[in-house]
Each structure stands twice: as C-alpha cells, then as structure tokens.
C-alpha cells in the first residue's frame, strides 16, 4: 500500500456559501500512480470540491494534506507550486497563444521567463521544453494544430490543450474537472491515453471528476459518489458501480435519461 507520504488526502471537507450547504464531511485519497474518480449529479458540488482543494475557496471544515503536509489555507499559486494542478470544466486556455505555446506556458521554472533571464541563452532549454510539449500534444493527436491559435480550435481540442498544459506543470497530482464533458466521443480515447500516461508511466496521481460513467469504469481505480452534500458510497470501481444504492440513486437515473 502507498504511505501517507505519497498521497493527496482530504479529510472531512465541508463547504457552504452563506447559509447554503454545498457538501459536508467529504474524505478521499488520491495515490501516486492511481486514479480516483468522483461522480455525482449536477450541482452535487464536484467543481466546488476541486476549488476547495486548490485553494480557491477555504473550506468551513476539514483539511487537505499533500504528502502528509496540510495545504488548506495556502494560495492557489503556492498549491500548484507544491504539486497540485487542476483543469477547468469550462476550458480556460490562452486564446491568442498557439496550442503549443499554451502547453509551454505550463512548464514551471523556465529559463527566459523573466525580464532579465530573457536576455540569457534560453535557446537549449526552450528547445527541450518544446519537445516535451510536442510529445504531450502528440499523445492527444494534436500535433497537427500545434501552431494554430488555441482560441480558433474547436471546444474539444481546447479542452485537450488545457489537459496537456496542466500535465506540463509537472504537478504530482492533477485534478481533472470533467475532462470528457463537451468533447467529441472520438477524442475520448486520447484523453484516456494521456491520463494513463500520467499515472501508469509517470507515476502521478489523478483525481477525475466525471459524469461519464463508462469513462470512469474504464480508467479509475477508486471511486466515490458525491450526492446530496455527502459521500453516498466509496471504494473500488467494482464495489461502487455495483452498489445497489448507487445504481438506484444515481446510475439508475443516468441510464434512464
């Protein structure tokens, strides 16, 4: 088993806006090299959960630990620097930057990214960064549009670019907020391929917020279901997706619809 030192662990997170409760007492873990999925109906607070973990909101209760150290209350930028990066459900790419520039922007501590260091010899490091960015785009079958302005690409491709950009930060934990939503079905295997590369090959941990149950079944190791402000069920994919309550309360409705 993985130790607490290589884990992203949330303990008893609670969030409310004004008097309105979003969720209460949510706990989960993401292991390095593993994929934890979070499913649940719209409005269950899945995106809010990502925002809480990333320091956009401060929870009213509970804490998040990264490798055993508490990170709750730390700024977003600092949390990314410590190794947790997230994507947004509504893609937020840099529209006037090209696809590859978007990915390059994600790479941390680049040579030449300051006023003074722009006048040093950043060429070699820029070239190797470009290769790394290109290999990420390759995995997503995007190398053909690498030099097109990202804002001109279709929504699905923009979403993949945002994914590659988050991966490029080198964060040990990547939180993906509905990466498959709004993406053409034909692109889903590309997302799956990148997520597997991040976890199986590079040993990073992924929290997958997702609506698409088939996608979750295919990728995730562990799942928890967020519903009515609490965790309805959690455990291995096998257990949870075959849990009667989950089928009745959540999956049933999805399949009906």
């Amino acid at each position: 088993m993985t130790s607490a030192n290589s884990q992203l662990r949330a303990e008893g997170l609670s969030m409310r806006f004004g008097g309105v409760r979003v969720f209460e007492d949510i706990s989960f873990t993401v292991d390095l090299g593993g994929i934890t999925a979070c499913i649940g109906p719209n409005g269950a607070g899945k995106s809010t959960l990502v925002n809480v973990v990333c320091g956009v909101y401060i929870p009213v209760g509970g804490q998040t630990f990264l490798n055993g150290e508490m990170i709750t209350g730390t700024s977003t930028v600092e949390i990314v620097r410590r190794g947790i990066c997230r994507t947004f459900q509504d893609v937020r790419i840099f529209p006037t930057l090209t696809a590859i520039e978007n990915v390059l922007a994600g790479i941390p501590r680049q040579r030449g990214e300051g006023v003074l260091s722009a006048f040093t010899n950043f060429g070699p490091s820029e070239r190797s960064n470009r290769n790394a960015a290109m290999s990420l785009l390759d995995d997503l079958a995007l190398s053909g549009v690498a030099s097109r302005p990202a804002g001109e690409l279709p929504f699905g491709q923009q979403k993949l670019i945002a994914l590659a950009r988050a991966a490029a930060t080198g964060a040990r934990f990547v939180l993906l907020d509905e990466p498959a939503a709004g993406v053409e079905l034909s692109l889903l295997p590309n997302i799956a391929k990148l997520v597997r590369r991040l976890t199986r090959t590079e040993g990073r941990g992924v929290l997958l917020i997702e609506h698409n149950v088939d996608f979750v079944r295919e990728l995730a190791d562990q799942v928890f279901v967020l519903q009515g402000g609490g965790v309805l069920a959690s455990g291995s994919v096998q257990q949870v997706l075959n849990d009667e309550r989950v089928i009745k309360e959540y999956l049933g409705r999805v399949y009906d619809a």
Binding site: C54, T76, V77, V80, R81, C85, R86, T87, F88, R92, I93, F94, P95, T96, L97, E101, L104, A105, G106, P108, Q110, R111, G112, E113, G114, V115, S117, A118, F119, F122, E126, R165, A166, A168, T169, A171
Partner: protein, 286 residues
Amino acid sequence: MDHLFYIATLMSVWIIFSLGANLVIGYTGLMAMGQAAYLGVGAYTAAVLNIFFHVPFPIAALAAMAVSALVAVATLLPLQRLEGFYFALGTLGLNFLFFDLFHNLAPRVEGSEGLYGLELPAFATGARNLFLSVLAVTIVSALACWRLDASPYGRALRATRDRPDALRSIGKEPRMFQISVWAVGGALAGLAGALYGATLFYIDPTLFTLNTSIAILVFIGVGGLASLAGSVLGPVLLIGFTEGLRYVGLPSTLTGPLQSGLYGLLLIVLMLFRRQGLVGKHDFRE
C-alpha cells in the same frame, strides 16, 4: 537639413516611448493611460542631474530610466487592486497628479516655465550627431523588445493578458509579470523622456499631460497593438504627417489643434473600424 534630422530624432524618441507602452498595453493588456507621467519623470530626472549636478548626459539618462521604473512600480502597486476599466481610470488620474507635481515642485530656469541648458556630450552635439545617437539607442531598445517578445517572458506576458486566472491555475502569478513589464515600460518611458529633453533642448510640465498619454495610445493604436512594427509605424507616420504640415508652412497656431484633432479623429476611426490598428496582432478587447 537640420530640421529633417530634428524630425527624425523626434520620431526615434517616440518609437522608444511606444515600444514600452506597447509592451504594457498591447502585449500584457494593461490599460495604461498615464504613461506621460513616467515620460515626465524621466525628462526631469535627466535634466536636473545634467543641468544642476553636471552628471554626464548618458549617465543621467540611465538614472532617468531607473527612477522612472521605480516611480512606475510605486504607482502601479496600489492601482493593481483595480479591475479592468477602473484601472484605466486610475492611471488616467496620474497625468493630473504628476502635472501638478511637475508644475509646482520641479525646478525651473529663472524667468521661464521650464528647464533648459542641457550639456550633451560631443558625440551627440549638433542635429545630425544627436539623431545618430538617439537612433542607436532606439535600435538597441527595439532589439531588446524584440528579444523580450520572442522569449518565454513574452509568451507569459501574452498569457497574462489572455487569461490571468488560467495563468494562476498553472502556478504562475500574473501580478509579477504585470509589475515587471510595468517597470520595463516605465524605464523605456524614462529613457524616452531624457532623450525628449535632449531633442527639444527645453522641457516644461505642459509636455507631460493627458494629451501626451493619449498621443501614445494613438501611436500604438494606429500602428498596431502587440506588434513591434506597430510601435515603429505609428510614430513615424503620425509625426511625419504633423511635422510635414509644419514644414509646408501651416502656422503653428493651427498645427497644435490640428494634431490633437487628428488624433481624436483617429481614435474614433480606430474604435469604429479597426481596433487592431494597421499591423496589430491584438485589439482593444474591452
């Protein structure tokens, strides 16, 4: 001939000023409407050091860059709290604040409103020599901006402009890029200010008003935002045009109003028909 050199020197000075303003406004998307204040700080710093303390002019100009950059950052820090349009309004207020500061506190030569009496080094004395010296500085400034544009830093500036929240989400603080580019813009404005004084041989507070800040907006707006060619094209075309009018003998009581009227008209036409200017890679989004 000397007059042509004078016009070309003036263009070069304004190109330096435009380069800095374009980095701030065009590349980084900060709606700076008070750049004239930093131009004035540079002009006064260099003139005071040179005239009263006999500091050699090139060193005084470097000091002007440093002081302008510092003043720029000091004024930016409080204004960074403001969002979008209100940021523009705050920077616009700087023109009036600094005009009164220059007008009431800056030293002046007895019996005049401003300062004169710069001692230029031998290699920059005479219209031709001054032009060549200023041109050399302009070329160095343009190359520096080109390098910044092509570097990862330039990429980060454009990312800051596009989506500061997304930049934050990948662990980079947009404010840091805004502050550093504002310092570069301030330094270039300070350099331009020092050279402006050397070109005119006389400076007074009326050179550094809202109209000057608007003029720079017209220059880079017409030339093109987020484009080095735009920073060069705008001043060359517009100064060429108005100085041309003076050259063909239009009385000076008319050239002033005609110039500002033309700038006003250009702003209207730009906003109506071509917000990216002639060769711009970006437009006034808001």
